[in-house]
Symmetry: C3
Subunit: 333 residues, 3 copies
């Protein structure tokens, strides 16, 4: 399997998802030096804890190195619009910055969050697209406006480790309240990856918090190919009944016509509590990408319960990213 | 000697202090590769120069690596209060962040300064306590609210290199003026480590700048065990007479009833000058943890004199931290 | 050839420039492990993209490591004035910080921009001078108030790769508009390095944007020794006629008597366009140090043309810095 860039689940498709999950699982507990003399340049437009620490340790433990650059924090702010008259605060254009970094490093990793103000712009994913276009070395996403694909893979690896093959596994992606609108990249990626892994995916959210239609259509295509399904409901109870995985996550309202940004503070009944877990299968687990706001999105009791697998999920970021970097720039690739 | 975490001098006690100082001294000039394949995750809640550079170079020169994370600067702000409803600016809880980092790294190093507003809270040291509680790998302090134990060890190593065994060595910890109240972690650590090393410790400060009673009691316990003593005075002259080490340091006023924060700008006679050195033993040295505000805390003439050992002291941070990390995560440990 | 520090072109002179360019060119495509066990401490007073990524990758690919410190961003602000009463926001003096870092690292790299307010102060280069004075290990400039010497070397390497020996090569350093006054370090370094490489250097700028007389005099000395020349004109057309290299760069007005800072926004005819390239030799190339503000300093059409060599130039930063670090701290040096 060859992989030029990895920024969206469509770069892998259902077969590729399966191969990454298998490889990640197979390598657990061993630390091959498969990235010797490889350098990953990590470009952050936004903050990070897990992503940064997990990518850096993947490179280090594989025998390579990472260089960390924070845009606008010790590094020039970057412009990505073609034809711009650059008289604002963005001192450098991605058309220069990206090919330059590609001369120093063997791969580029990029984090660039959604605007949360315009679903269409976020779906188009302009910054990560520019990195793909202008880089002469592989580009890997550390979360972009549309997707957070390494997170989705880690989420599914966690489920697979507990439940075995995921074909037909009932999983629930449930909206949660927050103090401000958040990007849809994480729910998009859970939805796409779970669909590509053949799960019975149940999306539940209050009215007005619809995910992007293009992402739902893409997920339904994967589900059809992988033997799963995708359904969407406003009824959380029915989405939880008998489900094996509850993935709680806040995201902002859809931008056209619906509720305003304040609406994310409403719907307290969507704050995940142990009552939600009680409706699920007896062996159900709780997942969240982290960071999580305790007692705003999810109750302490859920996060401190034995069903909570968020730390395993975070560890699995390391394992799926290791498999991906091996494919992209591994010594044997 | 086994060491699970190192965040306070009580983790070592007088015997452990002696072993670290001996090992640090014995390894000077040699660079064993004793940290191969080891990764230290360094978490900074506060700025650093020496601490960051010395820990990073300990890991690198030992054959390992360090990952640097700055809370609130490219990394989410962290909540540490149990039961908090996280609707403020702290997006992640230490209950998640700490165990997650422990999955990626072999040890965690943490810097978290005192509030300087509440001696009791600083004595209780909640953040470093949470790291100890939630980490599955060793935790090492890079300064917490109560102590800066690697600094205390480096201070004593510097004295020992010049004067030999420190039992009964007269040393003076003298308060100095500043532009704002500072934490007591550094004076606490000099006091505790010097006491554990058997010195005759003389603490001198103006009225109202008392150190914490719990720390003084702990130091007196060590002094009794190690054959030294601890005395406290407001009379700087007597504290300097015949002393071999002057450790100058500013710290904030005690919080109950005494002078307000502005008081740190008073007492210009406590600014360390060559007149102070003149009262000491002829071979006396000057120590300071750095950074030092020249001509506010200490005069240029003292800092530029041959008696000033602050650069050796900073170098000794490397040596004591190397000995500690070898005990905590060394290849032979 | 021995080199103690490298902060200004005068540390190399014309012969040294030739040796660095030859070595940088000869090593292209090979990755010797010549910096094993070497640690470079990089101290940034100002932002960076290329400089940081290229220095870090030089160290990593050579088998060594870099430690990155950002002054005022996770690291204490630094005072450099002798005798200062340090009661402001600068918590540490270079007299302590520099020798301390020299205890941990094998060399120090420093970036400290010009004030842009006082040509005489920038010419005197106080911060980089303090690093040279107080460091016991080699100091290398990542751009200081007066010069950006690694940039100048990369610029000339790029020209030499395309045109062969640079003696007598006509090159044009042309001022460009900007949104704010910029330092003169980059134009100074192109001028000095091109003169030391024997080029026919033509400097063109509007009235009031004179470079420093000391730098022009130094460049003329190098030109005389190396068989080249230095001329200065306000007539861009004549400076471009038949030239082989156009180096466009904005810089602030001279500070004595001339135009105010707003003047950098004037002179739209100096924005580099394809009309400028058309006046040059048919094989002429375009250079810029980056970051470049598109359509403010230089048009999209120039930057997207095949004559534009800015990415090669940036790559050459790696190659010249590798040759320099080999001389300063290489395993065979």
């Amino acid at each position: 399997m060859t992989l030029r860039h990895f920024t969206h689940i469509r770069d892998l498709g259902p077969e590729g998802v399966e191969r990454i999950l298998s490889r990640a699982a197979a390598w657990k507990g061993s630390f091959p030096k498969h990235l010797v003399d490889r350098v990953l340049a990590m470009v952050f437009f936004n903050p990070s804890l897990r992503t940064r620490a997990s990518f850096e340790t993947v490179m280090i433990r594989g025998g390579g190195s990472a260089v960390v650059l924070e845009v606008g924090n010790g590094v020039w702010k970057l412009e990505d619009r073609l034809g711009a008259v650059m008289d604002g605060d963005r001192a450098e254009h991605v058309r220069e910055a990206v090919p330059v970094l590609a001369r120093y490093a063997d791969a580029l990793a990029v984090r660039t969050f959604a605007t949360c103000a315009d679903d269409a712009a976020d779906h188009a994913d302009p910054v990560i697209g520019a990195f793909r276009q202008y880089s002469t070395v592989p580009v890997i996403s550390m979360e972009s406006a549309r997707e957070h694909p390494c997170q989705g893979l880690a989420d599914l690896l966690t489920a697979r480790e507990l439940f075995g093959p995921t074909r037909g596994l009932p999983v629930t992606l449930a909206w949660a309240p927050h103090i401000k609108p958040l990007p849809k990249a994480v729910p998009n990626s859970f939805l796409l990856t779970a669909a590509a892994a053949g799960c019975e995916v149940r999306v539940a959210h209050p009215e007005g918090f619809e995910l992007m239609p293009e992402v739902l259509a893409e997920a339904r295509g994967y589900a059809q190919a992988a033997g799963g399904s995708v359904s969407v409901t406003h009824d959380l109870d029915s989405a939880l009944a008998g489900s094996r995985v509850l993935y709680a996550k806040s995201w902002g309202p859809a931008t056209a016509g619906g509720p305003g940004p304040e609406a994310v503070k409403a719907h307290p009944e969507w704050l995940t509590s142990t009552a939600h877990l009680a409706r699920m299968a007896p062996d159900a687990i709780f997942e969240h990408c982290l960071p999580v706001r305790r007692n705003v999105e999810v109750s302490d009791a859920v996060l401190d319960s034995p069903q909570c697998r968020v730390v395993d999920e975070a560890e699995n970021r390391f394992h799926v990213q290791r498999a991906l970097l091996d494919l992209l720039i591994g010594n044997g690739s």
